[in-house]
């Protein structure tokens, strides 16, 4: 069904554009996340000082900063719909899968923008040694994809609970521990000029598994 596919693609594209436009109108989520990243980064940098060649600590701090900043607002994509009572309308015009993919892409774009600001600042403040660009960017990209795919799914659940945002970090974290472990170990390895192939494989496998299970679960998310 070529028309079905193009409809799906058009719906995803429309949702992505709508998300970006709503976000850009207030920049509430982005501002919150950027400030959160900056606060965490300042705290880490201030408390730990210049770490020089301690790349093991630096890779851990980098991912903690990114994780905290993303936890601050990745649930936002769905919570905003529930708060604004717009989820029902959205579901009338698009399929659950299209909504999910649109929100996922938005979360991914959001993370990449966040990283474009946070990562250079991290390198400056922490006096980090230059990375192996290819491996570093691959880790950052796949790590973001894994973060975005998990938190989109959890965000869709959390938006329907009583506490909304408050639970998001607590509920996402256990699921994201493998991502954190792989990303930290990979980032450390690229600084030590070691292979990151198994970490990249793990991140890719994790993302594929979460996306696969998402496809099966999205129909169950809004049944009432």
């Amino acid at each position: 069904m070529p028309t079905g596919e193009s409809n799906f693609g058009a719906a995803v594209w429309a949702i992505l554009r709508k998300e970006c436009r709503t976000e850009w109108r207030t920049r509430y989520g982005l501002n919150a996340s950027l400030l959160f990243a900056l606060t965490t980064l300042t705290t880490v940098s201030f408390a730990a000082g210049r770490l020089g060649d301690r790349v093991d600590l630096m890779s851990a701090f980098l991912w903690i900063v990114l994780l905290f900043a993303s936890m601050a607002s990745l649930a936002h994509a769905f919570v905003r719909e529930v708060d604004g009572h717009t989820l029902t309308f959205l579901r009338m015009v698009a399929s659950p899968a299209a909504i999910a993919v649109g929100k996922l892409l938005f979360n991914l774009v959001f993370l990449l923008v966040l990283e474009a600001v946070t990562v250079p600042l991290f390198f400056i403040l922490m006096d980090a040694p230059p990375p192996q660009w290819g491996r570093f960017l691959a880790l950052l990209g796949l790590g973001s994809l894994a973060l975005a795919s998990t938190s989109t799914l959890v965000g869709a659940i959390i938006a329907q609970t009583r506490s909304r945002g408050a639970l998001f970090a607590a509920v996402s974290l256990p699921l994201l521990l493998p991502v954190m472990a792989a990303a930290v170990s990979g980032t450390r390895n690229q600084w030590q000029n070691l292979s990151v192939r198994s970490e990249l494989g793990l991140l890719l496998g994790f993302t594929a598994a979460v996306l696969g299970v998402s496809v099966l679960l999205y129909d169950h998310l809004w049944n009432d």
Partner: protein, 218 residues
Amino acid sequence: MILRVVLLLWIAGSLVAGFLWAPLVPGLGPTTRVLYFHIPSAWITVVALAWSMVHSILYLKRKRLEHDDHAASAAELGLLFCIVATVSGSMWAKAVWHSYWNWDPRETSIFFLLLIYGAYLALRSSIENDERRARLSAVYSAIAFVTVPFLLFIVPRLYFSLHPDTIINTRGKVDMDPRIRTAFFAMLIGFTGLFFWILNLKVRLLRLERSRAEQAAV
């Protein structure tokens, strides 16, 4: 009734056997006996998680609240046994490794299960509507089901490189003394019976509460 008495006698018997009849492992001394509580608890932790996840997936397929009762009760019990396993393991680690906690691979994986249980139950407690709670927590359970194997796969790789001690493998579980083995497996069966007994009670209680609420509504 008879089953309950048999279970009680079975566990009491295994306990006596473990303490009075089975010998101690040389080098471990009296700490050997943690074996009879700790490993069965860890076993139940995993059984409860699997039970909870299978019933969550069954709920998504069939939409019957009984499956949600099973999933929720198994998760609550699993959390309890997980705490027992974590605390008893930590006490044993203090006695033998001289440290309560050092992110040994097994400590990491049990702590991870603790977090999963905690998150699942916290999620449940924040949703009021029965159907919605069942559906959303089942979805969460299914995601956890997919992500758990990744951690179990990555943890040994990561932490063996940091802590190259293999002390966990030198506990001699393979060449266990036959009497210790008998008491240990008896305890394992006893714990499994205990788990399914309490699970059954909890599920029946939830069913009664729901039917009473339905009657009150009518």
